[in-house]
C-alpha cells in the first residue's frame, strides 16, 4: 500500500472582527491507501476546516488557505486550477457532511442529486446514471430504491438522508472519503448503522476514510490511526491503541478522562478539562494548552513543543512532558 495523501504544513485563516483567526495552523499528516484515520478534537479546533481545505471549499471571503501542500496521487491540490480541482471533488475525493437534514437540496429529487455526479464525472448517459443510482441506493440499504428516486429529501428520515449522502459520496468510487461528523446528528442506533455502512463500503471499494468527530468511541472502533487536534494544530498522533492506552498529551488525557463510563462508580465526579477552548485570534506564545494544563511550567509558556517522541516511535505528541506520562488511569476525584 502506498501513500495516498500527504498534507504538509497546511494553513487556513479566517478574517474576523477580532483579527485573523488561524483555524488550521500548520497541520501535517499522511494517509495510506485504504486507511481509516480519525481526526479528533473539540468544536472549533479546526477539524472541519482542515477537511474543507483539502477540497479547497473554504468560503472566500472570509476564509483563505494561506499555505501548505496537499499531495494527493502525486499532485499538489493547492496548485491545481479550479477546473482540475472540480474534476477531483466528488470524484476522487468525496465528502459527507454533518447535517443530513440540510445537506440535500430540498427542491431536487433524490434521483437528480444522485445522477448528476456520475453524469458529470463518469460520463454516464441519463439512463445509465439512473441504473447506477438504483444500485447505489440498494448498496446503502434503501428499500424500494427505484421508486424512491423520484422522492424529495423531505420524504426521508435523517438516517435515510445520510444513507443517500453516502450513496452520492461513493457514487464515483472515490479514493478518499471525508466523513465530517457524519453521524453526530443521528440517533445512537442509527449512528452505529451508518458507521458500519461506511466501514464496509470503504473496505469493499478500497477507499481511504478520514473520520472527523469529537466522539472518541467512534474513533476507537473505526480508526487505524488517530490525529488529535487542538487550536488548529495536531498535538498528538498514534495508532488508536496507543492513543487510548497511553495518551501522552495532557489534552488527550483530559479528553479520554471525560468520557462517562459504566464501569466506574456513579458517585465519582466526571473528570473535565478546566477552562474554555482558546480564542484562535489570541493564542498564547508557547503551547496553546497552557491556560488549561495542570502540568504547565515556564518552559511550556515560552515555547511551543514540536510534534515528536522521545524514543523515536510513530506515536508523537506536542508536549515537553509527554514522556513522563504512563498508561492512562481513570483520573476521577470523589465528589
Amino acid at each position: 500500500m502506498g501513500t495516498l495523501l500527504e498534507v504538509r504544513d497546511l494553513r487556513t485563516e479566517f478574517n474576523s472582527e477580532g483579527g485573523i483567526v488561524k483555524a488550521v495552523d500548520g497541520v501535517s499528516y499522511d494517509l495510506q491507501e485504504g486507511e481509516t484515520l480519525g481526526l479528533v478534537g473539540e468544536s472549533g479546533c479546526g477539524k472541519s476546516v482542515s477537511a474543507l481545505s483539502l477540497l479547497r471549499l473554504i468560503p472566500n471571503p472570509p476564509g483563505r488557505i494561506v499555505g501548505g501542500e496537499v499531495i494527493f496521487e502525486d499532485q499538489d491540490l493547492m496548485k491545481l486550477s479550479e477546473r482540475q480541482m472540480r474534476s477531483i471533488r466528488g470524484n476522487k475525493i468525496a465528502m459527507i457532511f454533518q447535517e443530513p437534514m440540510t445537506s440535500l437540496n430540498p427542491v431536487l429529487t433524490i434521483g437528480r442529486q444522485l445522477t448528476e455526479t456520475v453524469e458529470l464525472h463518469m460520463g454516464y448517459s441519463p439512463e445509465a446514471a439512473v441504473r447506477r443510482s438504483v444500485e447505489l441506493l440498494e448498496m446503502v440499504g434503501i428499500p424500494d430504491a427505484r421508486s424512491r428516486l423520484s422522492n424529495y429529501p423531505h420524504q426521508f428520515s435523517g438516517g435515510m438522508r445520510q444513507r443517500v449522502m453516502i450513496a452520492i459520496a461513493l457514487s464515483c468510487s472515490p479514493r478518499l472519503l471525508l466523513a465530517d461528523e457524519a453521524t453526530t446528528a443521528l440517533d445512537v442506533t442509527i449512528q452505529a448503522q451508518i458507521l458500519e455502512l461506511i466501514k464496509n463500503l470503504s473496505t469493499e471499494l478500497g477507499t481511504a476514510v478520514i473520520i472527523i468527530t469529537h466522539n472518541l468511541g467512534v474513533v476507537a472502533r473505526y480508526a487505524d490511526r488517530v490525529n488529535v487536534m487542538y487550536a488548529g494544530k495536531i498535538i498528538e498522533r498514534g495508532t488508536a491503541d496507543e492513543i487510548y492506552e497511553t495518551p501522552k498529551h495532557p489534552y488527550t488525557r483530559g479528553l479520554l478522562g471525560s468520557v462517562p463510563r459504566l464501569d466506574v462508580d456513579r458517585e465519582d465526579r466526571l473528570a473535565s478539562i478546566e477552562g474554555m477552548p482558546p480564542d484562535l485570534d489570541r493564542l498564547p506564545p508557547g503551547c496553546s494548552f497552557v491556560p488549561r494544563c495542570p502540568h504547565a511550567d515556564d518552559h511550556c509558556r515560552a515555547e511551543m513543543p514540536p510534534l515528536s517522541s522521545k524514543d523515536g516511535t510513530e506515536h508523537v505528541y506536542a508536549c515537553w512532558k509527554g514522556h513522563e506520562f504512563g498508561p492512562l488511569e481513570l483520573v476521577q476525584t470523589k465528589a
Binding site: R86, G90, F97, E99, P106, Y152
Partner: protein
C-alpha cells in the same frame, strides 16, 4: 394538487364578501348626493332648474331609496349574475361592456410590466449576489434604490416632458388594440410598462439578490460544490429554484402596489384601462361604475394570488405534497 387549488379558491369567498362590503360602505359614506349632482349638471347644461319631485323620482330610479342592506344585496347579486352592477349613470353603457372593453387593457399593461421585470430582475439579482460588495453589485443596488424611491407619476411626467421638448416626439394619444395595430399599440404601452417595470424590477432584483445570498450559504450548496459541479450548475440547478420560492411569494404581493401604479399611469398616458375609467367615474360621481370596477380590481388581484400560489407549489415540492 387539485385539492390544494380548490382550497385556495374556496378561501376567495370570504375575502370577496369582505372586500365588497368595504367598497360598498366607503361609497355610501362619501359626501355628496348623486341625484343632486346629476340634476345639477343637467340644469346647468339646459339652463333651467329642477324640482324636489325630480330629485325624489331620480333617487327612486337609481335605487337609492332602498335600505342599504337591500342595495348591497342587489349589487352583490348583479356581480354574480353577470350584470356587474347595471350600467353607467353618465353614459348608460352596461358595466359588462365597460369591463369587457377595459379589463384586457389593464391586464396587458400588467403582464408587460411583470414579464419585463422578471426577465430583467432575476438575472440581475443573481449577478448582484455573485458579485456581492464588488462594483457591479454597488451599481445595481444604486439603480434599484433609485427605481424604488422615485414616484412613478413623477418619472412619467419627466419622461413625457423630455420626449416632447428634447426629441420632439410623444407617444401617440389614441390607443390601438394589439391585434389590430401591434406597432402602434406598443408605442403607447411601452412607456408606462417601462416606468412600472423599473420600480417592480428594482424590488424583484433586491429580493432575488438577498435570496441568492442566503441560498449560497446553505449546506446543500456546499454539497453541490463538493460534488464537483461548476458554478453554472450550482447556480442554475441548485440555487435558483430555491431563490424563486421567496421571489414568487413577495413578487406576487407586490403586484397589488403595481396595480395602484397602473391606475395613475393609465391616466397620464391616456390608456383606456380600468384605472382611467375609475378615475373618470369618481370625478363624475358615477358610483355603479366605481364600485363595480373596484371590485373587479380586487377579483383580479385574488386571481393573481392564485396564480402565484400555484406557481409556488410548482417550485417547492414540500408544498406540492402537503
Amino acid at each position: 394538487m387539485q385539492k390544494y387549488i380548490a382550497r385556495r379558491v374556496l378561501l376567495f369567498i370570504p375575502t370577496l364578501i369582505l372586500a365588497s362590503i368595504l367598497i360598498f360602505g366607503i361609497l355610501r359614506i362619501l359626501p355628496g348626493d348623486v341625484a343632486l349632482a346629476i340634476l345639477g349638471q343637467e340644469a346647468a347644461e339646459g339652463g333651467g332648474g329642477y324640482t324636489e319631485t325630480q330629485i325624489r323620482e331620480l333617487r327612486a330610479e337609481l335605487g337609492l331609496d332602498d335600505p342599504l342592506p337591500i342595495q348591497y344585496v342587489k349589487w352583490a347579486w348583479s356581480m354574480v349574475n353577470g350584470e356587474f352592477g347595471g350600467e353607467s349613470i353618465r353614459s348608460t353603457e352596461p358595466l359588462s361592456s365597460i369591463i369587457a372593453r377595459r379589463l384586457p387593457v389593464t391586464l396587458q399593461l400588467t403582464v408587460y410590466t411583470v414579464l419585463l421585470s422578471i426577465i430583467v430582475a432575476v438575472p440581475l439579482g443573481v449577478f448582484s449576489a455573485l458579485y456581492q460588495d464588488k462594483w457591479p453589485d454597488y451599481v445595481l443596488r444604486m439603480g434599484a434604490i433609485l427605481g424604488q424611491s422615485m414616484p412613478n407619476f413623477w418619472i412619467a411626467l419627466l419622461l413625457l416632458l423630455f420626449m416632447v421638448t428634447q426629441i420632439g416626439w410623444s407617444p401617440p394619444l389614441g390607443y390601438s388594440n394589439i391585434w389590430v395595430d401591434p406597432f402602434h399599440h406598443l408605442q403607447i404601452m411601452i412607456w408606462p410598462a417601462l416606468i412600472l417595470a423599473w420600480r417592480f424590477s428594482a424590488y424583484m432584483t433586491r429580493i432575488t439578490r438577498s435570496g441568492m445570498l442566503e441560498v449560497l450559504a446553505q449546506d446543500y450548496v456546499r454539497t453541490a460544490k463538493a460534488k464537483g459541479l461548476g458554478q453554472g450548475l450550482v447556480v442554475r440547478r441548485h440555487s435558483l429554484p430555491n431563490v424563486l420560492i421567496p421571489v414568487i411569494t413577495l413578487g406576487g404581493l407586490e403586484v397589488s402596489t403595481l396595480l395602484g401604479g397602473t391606475v395613475i399611469l393609465e391616466n397620464l398616458f391616456g390608456i383606456p384601462g380600468l384605472g382611467q375609467e375609475i378615475v373618470q367615474a369618481s370625478v363624475g360621481r358615477d358610483f355603479p361604475v366605481v364600485q363595480s370596477l373596484a371590485m373587479m380590481l380586487v377579483f383580479f388581484m385574488l386571481g393573481l394570488n392564485l396564480v402565484v400560489d400555484i406557481a409556488y407549489s410548482y417550485v417547492d415540492p414540500r408544498v406540492r405534497y402537503s
